[in-house]
Amino acid sequence: MKRTLAYLSLLFILGALLYIANPNYGLKFGPGGEDWLKYRYTDNYYIEHGVEEVGGTNIVTDIVFDYRGYDTLGEATVLFTAIAGAVALLRPWRRDEE
């Protein structure tokens, strides 16, 4: 009984999300159509000039490694710090060896 109720509620949530995410009559993320170019001209700039300025046909790589290079640098630093922290926390401590 409880399990059936759980599955039914999951199904209901899925249906509600499907209704909300429908682009025709559901929630809208930002302006569509011509307004898109007015407010999101940065996206359009990357799409139009990315291949010519940076050279990769994968625009995401163009953005990640060239336009937003500092962000990738910080991400590499975060990865390094996470691994250093994991190794420092996990290795045997002095009081474990007794």
């Binding site: 300025e53 990769g56 046909t57 994968n58 995401v60 490694f65 060239d66 290079g69």
Partner: protein
Amino acid sequence: MNDFDMGVIVRTAARATIPLIGIFGAYVVMHGHLTPGGGFQGGATIAGAGILFLIAFGLGEMKKRYNKHLYSALEGVGGLVFLGAAMLGIGTAFFYNTLWHNGPFFNGKPGTLLSAGFLPIMNLAVGLKVFTGLVSALTAIALWRRWKS
């Protein structure tokens, strides 16, 4: 407890699939500027092959193959190559892609493998860094686990 592996079936399957996973990860890293994916994703895929090796063959076999100093050095080399490639265009700006239009190499037509300036170099560096880093972290977790079995 330490040299615990998962039996002959899993070991045989892992022996067959680890090279394929590694080749696919190398493909994702090398074509990072052309197709979806890149250094992080491909490096994580190759690290998945290493973790499959660790799980299937056990920690004892992993200890024989894993060299801490080599992996630390390779991770440092990856980070330094990434920073050095970013420094190449320091005359204009940090992270300026100077190899693309007036560099001696990596300036083929867009869409070919040897194009896009420093993007392939950076993809290789980041892939190396992510692969060695993730394998080091997972080996540390397996080697010094703090719970009793």
